[in-house]
Amino acid sequence: MWKWIQRFSSPKYFYSMSAPLITWFSIAALLTGLYGLYLGLFVAPPDYQQGESYRIIFIHVPAAWMSLFIYMVMAVSAAIGIIWQIRLADMVAAASAPIGASFAFLALVTGALWGKPMWGAYWVWDARLTSELILLFLYLGYMALQSAIEDQRSADKASGLLAIVGVVNIPIIHYSVEWWNTLHQGATVAKFDKPSMHIDMLIPLLLMAVAFKLLYAALVLVRARNEALYRDRNRRWVRELIEKL
């Protein structure tokens, strides 16, 4: 069993296996995304309260979901890397951070753009936006620590531990921000995820979420391949590969 895991998690094996996966994930992401966009922009009816502006949520909500999801992936793979010394897991964690940060950034920008017509201001201290902002800070901290430590292995372990600490903290942060928000704002602001969402809106939303997940899968593979090449730059398999190029 252990040997099996070691074999399949070797960067060399990963490098050769991931190439076709990237193609498939990209195609699937593109198709789902285009169909989701079609349904979201053309088929879904305008919202009776928000008019057309609600169409921003087809990006905003999946992006926010993804930013949280990627942080979880990052922390779990960092934990695997620390506990079982599997280098591939460290690579996946390191590769995930910039993508997660991008999604968090997207969620913030689209949230602000959605907020302006709704609340009359680009930024309000809404619980979701605030949590998202803190999440972006967590990503930036991870990336800063990762790049500040020169020794690659220590950098992986140290930033990995930070990601795990972050994951323990996220529920606490989330809870306290929610609580703080209800205290200061009241429940006057409209929330994105109304429980009674129209099915025509829900389907494109879910499609976009799937598309983003597939996109992440493709992107993380591309980045992890880069990490594998870079980290193993002095190893034989990389040398042989490069010489063939």
């Binding site: 620390i82 803190i134 930036l140 220590s154 531990l161 600490v165 903290n169």
Partner: protein
């Protein structure tokens, strides 16, 4: 094991007391930053009272943050940290000793000086009491969580800004509940919930942070 805890605690306290001028620095910083705010706005007592909880808590956060460096920096630089890790005692106990010393030297003085700052910011007396309680429960968490951050960044050159970048987001829950407890208390409302939350976070930090810190120290030493 208790002996190891005690010895290290005493050593750190003794070291700090031999450097008294350095010891006072975070405290002076704390008072100074709080003093800046009334100078920056119209210092009517209503305005000050409204800002007070946030201002005092943010200043306490920054004061602790600036003092975190002393937790492991010196030991790392002179090699004592290696010796601590080669101790037959569990590293967690030693981490706990160092964090306790840090809190006694920075957190506790902040708690003690806080009533004075409450006075500066014209907080009512009930709010000052709650301020003390909230700092008493909150500052140990700042030391405990901060220890994780320092042990990750102690080997990084010019790690100061990096440390704040990775630690401040983790301080947010403490800030929210600490400041809010004081805020609510100055309106004369009960604050048991907030203090309970701070207590729960303290218990959580007390049980998990020393573990995370010792893992982090091992990562740092392996460089």
């Amino acid at each position: 094991m208790l002996k190891a805890y005690y010895h290290l605690l005493v050593r750190d306290l003794r070291l700090a007391l031999r450097n008294r001028h350095e010891l006072a620095n975070p405290l002076i910083f704390f008072v100074l930053v709080v003093t800046l705010f009334p100078l920056a706005v119209t210092p009517t007592s209503e305005a000050l009272r409204a800002m007070a909880p946030g201002v005092i808590w943010v200043s306490a956060l920054l004061a602790v943050l600036l003092s975190l460096d002393r937790l492991f920096k010196q030991d790392y630089d002179d090699g004592s940290l290696d010796q601590l890790m080669l101790s037959p005692n569990p590293l967690m106990i030693l981490v706990l000793a160092k964090v306790s010393a840090h809190w006694l030297l920075t957190g506790l003085p902040l708690v003690i000086i806080a009533p004075l700052l409450g006075l500066f910011m014209s907080l009512p007396s009930e709010a000052v009491t709650v301020l003390i309680y909230s700092l008493l429960l909150g500052t140990p968490v700042l030391s405990l969580v901060g220890a994780i951050g320092v042990s990750l960044t102690v080997a990084v050159n010019r790690g100061g800004v990096l440390l704040s970048l990775i630690i401040l987001p983790l301080y947010i829950p403490i800030l929210i509940f600490g400041a809010n407890a004081v805020d609510v208390a100055s309106d004369g409302l009960p604050v048991t919930g907030q203090l309970l939350f701070l207590g729960a976070v303290l218990a959580l930090a007390l049980s998990l942070a020393p573990l995370a810190t010792s893992v982090a120290l091992r990562i740092t030493a392996a460089r």
